[in-house]
């Protein structure tokens, strides 16, 4: 196991000190970014949304055949981003992969915050968001309950389960670290972390139950994450609309989600290790492994993409052909489509070179490119299918309005804001698992580590 080690020998003492340092010592740049992202949330998200609620959905660019637009594209994009954190963490935990240990905490946080962002888009997209509680399953006196046959109802269940479980998974894995932080900080932090760490002492019994329960959570999370994105894809695939109603959508979305999520992790880790100065813990080896993962996911994604186009083209029904023609060869969608092919299929191929995987600038460019491409993919699915439904008389092109674009940008600010707050309030690198990775100290060299 020694050769699998991803980080160098660091004294245990330093790990605690470093992680607590990331939480307590804050530079000016941090506050500038925090302020900017908060301002972005208010100006780019809050105000346009308030305007939209007050005036009506008419301020968007939606119109009669294209009832779904950029909001739903964002919803799927953020759900997709959420897919790598917890899912990857759970898979790597069960397979006991060593390089999981220093990145999984922030990846799980990424999951939780992107699920939050995504679920806000559900409300942004609703016509009467003040009645959102009508979709929540609780016994009520309004004389109606919920239509469980609706794919949107599956969504409500899947996403609330996913958000709850990934929050519990994140919190649960951090209990020992919160205790470690509790022992080192003073003032208000001390009180907060005393409550949060639940009186953790690290006895053998506590560790035993923690590892067992954690394994069960991981086992639950994997099928859950797969089901969540399948269900999100069924919002489209259960319709009859050409371009949306495709049987391959569930695996396509799951693969796309893991792909974009892994790219999201790479982007985030590059910023995180620079920002928090934790290059010691998130090393080039991590990027090496994540790069390999990206190549594999890229190939699977490209394969499914080819299958989707090929089956549609080969079947040669007029609706299907029209939706493919509209997506692939009609500007401006054709530009977006071929850009997506370039960023998601061609560019990641460079990651087969070890040198590219281990250097930061190319990794950043490729991972950002993948995320742009994945966003375009979701946008194209919606924006090119609905305007080309069955009645040619009703065809209309969908162009997003300023309000929609602004709220889209605002969602990125929201995610940044949540994540910036997270790194200061939560140990963003797992202390105890990094220590495990460093190795258990033995007087006599024997057994594992």
């Amino acid at each position: 196991m020694g050769s699998d080690r991803t980080i160098e020998q660091i004294p245990y003492e330093d790990v605690n000190a470093d992680v607590v340092r990331t939480m307590t010592e804050t530079g000016r740049l941090y506050y500038i970014f925090l302020f900017l992202s908060m301002a972005g949330v208010v100006v780019l998200w809050g105000l346009p949304w308030a305007y939209q609620i007050y005036t009506g959905q008419g301020v968007t660019g939606l119109q009669t055949p294209a009832f779904w637009g950029i909001y739903l594209a964002n919803f799927i994009f953020w759900i997709g981003i959420s897919h790598s954190g917890t899912l990857l963490s759970a898979i790597l935990f069960i397979t006991q992969t060593p390089w999981r240990r220093s990145i999984y905490r922030s990846a799980e946080a990424m999951t939780f915050f992107s699920v939050m962002t995504a679920s806000i888009f559900v409300f942004v997209h609703m016509g009467r968001p003040w009645n959102f509680y009508w979709t929540v399953p609780y016994p009520n006196q309004r004389g109606l309950w919920l239509n469980f046959m609706s794919p949107l109802m599956f969504d409500v269940f899947a996403i609330s389960t996913y958000a709850t479980s990934s929050m519990i998974f994140l919190y649960f894995g951090s209990i020992p670290d919160l205790a470690a932080v509790r022992d080192r900080v003073k003032g208000w932090r001390k009180e907060v972390y005393t409550v949060l760490s639940l009186g953790w002492r690290g006895t053998d019994a506590e560790w035993h139950w923690l590892t067992k329960a954690y394994t069960f959570f991981a086992v639950f999370i994997i099928p859950l994450a797969v089901s969540v994105h399948s269900i999100v894809s069924w919002d489209f695939a259960l319709s009859k609309v050409p371009g949306l109603s495709k049987t391959i959508f569930a695996p396509y979305f799951v693969v796309g989600a893991i792909y974009s999520g892994s790219a999201g992790i790479v982007t985030l880790m590059i910023f995180l290790r620079r920002g928090l100065k934790i290059e010691k813990y998130i090393t080039k080896t991590h990027f090496d492994k994540l790069g390999m993962l990206l190549v594999v996911m890229s190939l699977i994604w490209s394969y499914i993409n080819v299958v989707e186009v090929f089956t549609g083209w080969y079947a040669d029904t007029s609706f299907e052909t029209e939706s493919l023609r509209y997506r692939m060869f009609t500007p401006p969608f054709s530009y977006m489509y071929w850009l997506m092919i370039f960023t998601n299929t061609v560019m990641p191929l460079f990651l087969i070179f070890r040198k590219v995987r281990r250097s930061m600038a190319p990794a950043l460019i490729i991972s950002l490119g993948i995320n742009v491409g994945m966003w375009i993919e979701r946008y194209l699915i919606i924006a090119t299918s609905l305007p080309r439904k069955f009645h040619p008389y009703m065809w209309n092109d969908y162009i997003p309005s300023l309000v929609e674009i602004s709220i889209t940008l605002g969602s990125f600010c929201f995610f940044t804001m949540m994540f910036l707050m997270f790194v200061k309030l939560w140990p963003s690198v797992s202390i105890y698992e990094v220590k495990e990775d460093i190795g258990i100290p033995f007087r006599t060299k024997k057994g594992h580590h």
Partner: protein, 169 residues
């Protein structure tokens, strides 16, 4: 209550040797460590039981039936045909119960953990911040008045860098 002895070790194998020896002499030992020592403790002191799986299993089963009753029950309460589909439709029912069995399974696992590990516990307990940094603590309880010297000697003999006598609250 008698005070307890906490020996702090730098090396895990030292601590485990001491733990084994003291436990064989009839003391109540527990280990405080900054990292999980599953394998090492299993090898030395035997494998502990895994009760949480019962909670998990019960939760998943409860969730599954909850989902089924929930879905079919609401459909039966408001008999509204939609889309020419049957009122009791198998696929959505199974889908919803799949999600609820995971949700309730997770909750039960969490409750199981809290019960088994006796957390949250906010009263003061024997603890030393060192054991969450780089020391492995061996907590020895149930020592008679005249045996403190002997236990301390055993702890030291196995390489404890420090032995603390702490009051139980």
């Amino acid at each position: 209550m008698n005070p307890v002895l906490l020996g702090l070790y730098k090396y895990v194998d030292d601590m485990i040797d001491a733990a084994g020896r003291l436990r064989d002499s009839g003391y109540e030992v527990s280990i405080l460590s900054p990292i999980p020592l599953g394998h090492e403790i299993e090898e030395a002191l035997g494998e502990p039981k895994n009760h949480i799986r019962y909670f998990t299993f019960a939760g998943a089963i409860c969730g599954f039936f909850f989902g089924i009753i929930f879905t079919l029950g609401t459909a039966a309460m408001y008999v509204l045909p939609r889309g020419g589909r049957p009122i009791f439709s198998a696929t959505p029912t199974l889908l919803i119960s799949y999600e609820t069995s995971i949700l309730i399974g997770v909750f039960f696992t969490l409750i199981g953990f809290f019960l088994m590990a006796r957390l949250p516990y906010y009263k003061k307990r024997v603890y030393d911040p060192e054991v969450n940094v780089d020391s492995f603590g061996l907590l020895v309880d149930g020592i008679r008045e005249d045996k403190y010297g002997e236990v301390e000697r055993v702890l030291k003999e196995h390489g404890a860098k420090e032995v603390k006598r702490l009051e139980k609250e």
